[in-house]
């Protein structure tokens, strides 16, 4: 494919350059880009809050910001990162772009609904920005009552309205994906031939549809209480603040699986490609995705162990929390088995995927640690929990997101980025991440509480280590911003399949035409049919 060829060929990016065509597009590929730009903005917004947090925590005294401001900073960090970056990240960008391509469809089932999802995201984001500009909230991203409903004097209503609206964006995206995957697969693409990325987004979409409405009603109750004085969580009239926590975490725990499952899908795609091998235990991998989605709905009480939940309920939730680790473990073992005797190469996406496997494992194991009720009594609301979920969210999910971006960048843009810089950034992120968050495990175990901006002197060394890692991590995140943008203009032109990967999305030119496929594909082979011979049992099944 020559430079002349690409500039003459019409594809989804160059057929119309006007702003209006972008803002009124119903092309899933363009909507993916709209999301990409928006979530990147929120990523840096939330990251700025994190920078100030780590700056404050470099010294034991509260000398950078006041207590009130610090509370507003970590609340903003949580709200921006969870709802405006992590939840939409892979589904709304890579999922939107790739799912129709991977199943051989021309678009998603409801393209206009897809655009509406993005506009809802924008409206919700505007409310959040308004909240931040007018002072923010100090309730934490968890909005616990009765503080948030009765006593907090920040912009709680703006914040919850923003989250409710972006929640609807999430529900509609999930709805779209479920219908698309059920109804629009190409001929021959049975469920057992679907790429695991599609399975992952399918499981994610189910969680989005079932869990997010409960968040909506819960936050709506806070808004109603603050606006109309309806006192459902007010202890003075017999309300129970723990009930809020039940409702909130019924969504928010499955939400963390919304955040991680798409990442697992990306990792499966990358590892198979760069080990040149069929994924080990495809059935188990697909089953594990669904099992995580299902069991993930049953564990929310582990956030309430020390909140006043009955001990007997705590036992049940603890047991279920141990169980949810099993399918995750299946996936980690299967990734390892996929690598075994594979022909492994270490391009940038693979570095991210391998980083994911290691860091997610650490995060997952520490999750089991806090799932033990007795241990959680000591560790709850300490930095141990913060380190645990950052290992999964950042060490896992964000690395998977970056890995996916790099893996499919050529498909999305028709250009390749310089792989040397890609690897430098990946390693920088890995080092910076561990330096930032590993000390926090120790800090938490030693008893440093979360959400405090001052701490006893003996915690300073570990905090300084953590704050020293933060700029390294930030540098790692900034590098791709530069070289990916650079590649758009000066990167080498990429062919349709520079990685020689399997999957329908690689059968179409890079970038794809507006209607995705010139000839609608028919699928005849299993997924991940990479060259290496499969085991006898797989071969017998054909």
């Amino acid at each position: 494919m020559t430079t002349v060829g690409i500039s003459l060929r019409k594809h989804y990016l160059n057929h119309d350059y006007s702003l209006r065509s972008w803002l009124t597009t119903i092309d899933h590929k363009r909507i993916a880009w709209l999301y990409l730009v928006s979530i990147t903005a929120f990523f840096f917004f939330g990251g700025a809050a994190a920078t100030l947090i780590r700056l404050e925590l470099a010294t034991p005294a509260g000398d950078v910001v006041e207590t009130e401001t610090y509370n507003r900073l970590f609340s903003l960090h949580g709200i921006a990162m969870v709802w405006f970056f992590l939840v939409p990240s892979i589904p709304a960008t890579l999922g939107n772009f790739l799912i129709p391509l991977m199943i051989g469809a021309r678009d998603v089932a409801f393209p206009r609904l897809n655009l509406l999802s993005w506009y809802l995201y924008g409206i919700g984001g505007s409310f959040t920005l308004a909240m931040a500009i007018t002072g923010g909230v100090d309730t934490g991203w968890t909005f616990y009552t009765p503080f948030s409903s009765l006593f907090a004097n920040g912009q709680v209503v703006l914040a919850v309205v923003g989250v409710i609206i972006v929640g609807f964006s999430s529900i509609l995206t999930g709805l779209n994906f479920i219908v698309t995957i059920h109804k629009m697969r190409a001929p021959g693409l049975y469920w057992t031939r679907l790429p695991l990325f599609v399975w992952a987004n399918y499981a994610t979409a189910i969680i989005m549809v079932l869990a997010t409405p409960v968040l909506a009603i819960t936050l709506l109750l806070i808004a109603l209480e603050r606006i109309f004085g309806i006192g459902i969580f007010d202890p003075k009239v017999g309300g129970d603040p723990v009930l809020f926590q039940h409702l909130f975490w019924f969504y928010s725990h499955p939400a963390v699986y919304i955040m991680i499952l798409p990442g697992m899908g990306v990792v499966s795609e990358i590892i198979t490609c760069f080990a040149r091998k069929h994924v080990f235990g495809y059935d188990g991998m697909a089953f594990a995705l669904l099992a995580i989605a299902l069991i993930g709905f049953l564990v929310w009480g582990h956030h309430l162990f020390v909140a006043g939940e009955s001990i007997y309920a705590g036992v049940i939730f603890s047991l279920l929390s141990f169980m949810v680790a099993v399918p995750s473990g299946i996936k980690v073992f299967n990734w390892a088995a996929t690598l075994y005797k594979g022909s492994v190469s270490f391009e940038t996406p693979m570095l991210y995927a391998l980083g994911f496997v290691g860091l997610f494992t650490i995060g997952g194991l520490t999750g089991i640690t806090v799932a033990a009720t007795a241990v959680d009594v000591h560790l709850h609301d300490t930095y141990f929990v913060i380190a645990h979920f950052h290992y999964i969210m950042v060490g896992g999910m964000v690395m998977a997101y970056f890995g996916g971006l790099h893996f499919w960048w050529s498909k999305m843009t028709g250009r390749m980025y310089p792989d040397v810089w890609g690897r430098i950034a990946a390693i920088t992120i890995f080092i910076g991440f561990n330096l930032t968050f590993f000390p926090q495990f120790v800090l938490g175990y030693l008893g440093m509480p979360r959400r405090y901006h001052t701490y006893p002197d003996e915690f300073q060394l570990l905090n300084v280590l953590s704050s020293a890692g933060a700029p390294v991590l930030a540098l790692g995140y900034l590098l791709p911003l530069f070289y990916l943008l650079y590649s758009l203009r000066w990167g080498p032109v990429a062919g349709p399949n520079p990685w020689e990967a399997k999957g329908l999305e690689w059968q179409t030119p890079s970038p794809p035409p507006e209607h995705n496929f010139d000839h609608l594909p028919v699928v005849t082979e299993e997924p991940y049919a990479y060259g290496l011979p499969k085991r006898d049992s797989d071969a017998a099944r054909g």
Binding site: L210, H246, G301, S310, I311, A313, V377, T454
Partner: protein, 232 residues
């Protein structure tokens, strides 16, 4: 075909109205626990009829059926698992008693300050402030011990532990004598491990912590009895 369809729909409608009337009528009878069960059951039956006949679920494809069933089933999951909490709160926060028990009084103002919000807080013991009046316990030091160790159970009342600030509960327990109370804390008692699970603390530390909890519950502290519990 049209006429039959219309008659069927009318029949369903009459059935629904009949169930509504039955539901209202039943609410006039006193059937004890059956009342709420029956009202919900009848409502669920009406819902099922609407879904099956008016929303064509009887002739729907499998996937929409699964979608609808999943919605209801997930709701049942949420309610069921949440009830495992509410139905097993056997202690003072049991269902039906979400309000504070009568006789519970808030701790006196300033009795439970939070030094953790002060800048530069260090867990090293501070100089004990002079305590008002003749007391037998060093409540300043005891406060520090309480916050480090005892608050885990005595803050929330886990496992039946009397909450700091719960005057009624502590008054009951001082009937056996404050020394006995402190000895329980030193030697262990029911769910409480010896010295709260911290053998490195001295008996005087435990004594002070008990004294602090009494003080925070608004109970006047007795003079020291004179006999030492342990040579310090």
């Amino acid at each position: 075909m049209d006429e039959r369809k219309r008659r069927n729909h009318l029949g369903i409608w009459l059935l629904l109205l009949g169930l509504l009337g039955l539901n209202v009528a039943l609410s006039f009878l006193d059937l004890g626990i059956l009342n709420p069960i029956l009202t919900i059951a009848l409502a669920a039956l009406q819902a099922l009829i609407i879904v099956a006949f008016f929303m064509y679920m009887r002739s729907a494809a499998p996937v929409p059926r699964i979608a609808a069933a999943t919605g209801f089933f997930w709701l049942l999951l949420m309610i069921g698992l949440t009830l495992t909490d509410y139905q097993t709160r056997f202690e003072d926060i049991a269902l039906g008693r979400l309000l504070p028990e009568p006789g519970w009084e808030s701790p006196p103002a300033g009795a439970v300050p939070n030094p953790l919000t002060e800048p530069g807080y260090s867990p090293a013991p501070q100089q004990p402030a002079p305590t008002p009046g003749p007391t037998a316990f060093d409540t300043a030091s005891g406060e520090h011990i309480y916050i480090s160790v005892c608050i885990v159970c005595h803050g929330e009342g886990l496992g039946g532990a009397p909450r700091a600030g719960d005057k009624a509960a502590w008054l009951k327990r001082t009937e056996q004598g404050v020394d006995t109370l402190a000895a329980h804390a030193v030697n262990g008692f029911k769910g409480m491990p010896p010295k709260g699970g911290h053998p490195e603390l001295s008996e005087q530390d435990i004594h002070n912590a008990v004294g602090y909890m009494l003080y925070a519950s608004g109970i006047e502290l007795p003079k020291r009895s004179g006999s030492k519990l342990e040579s310090d």
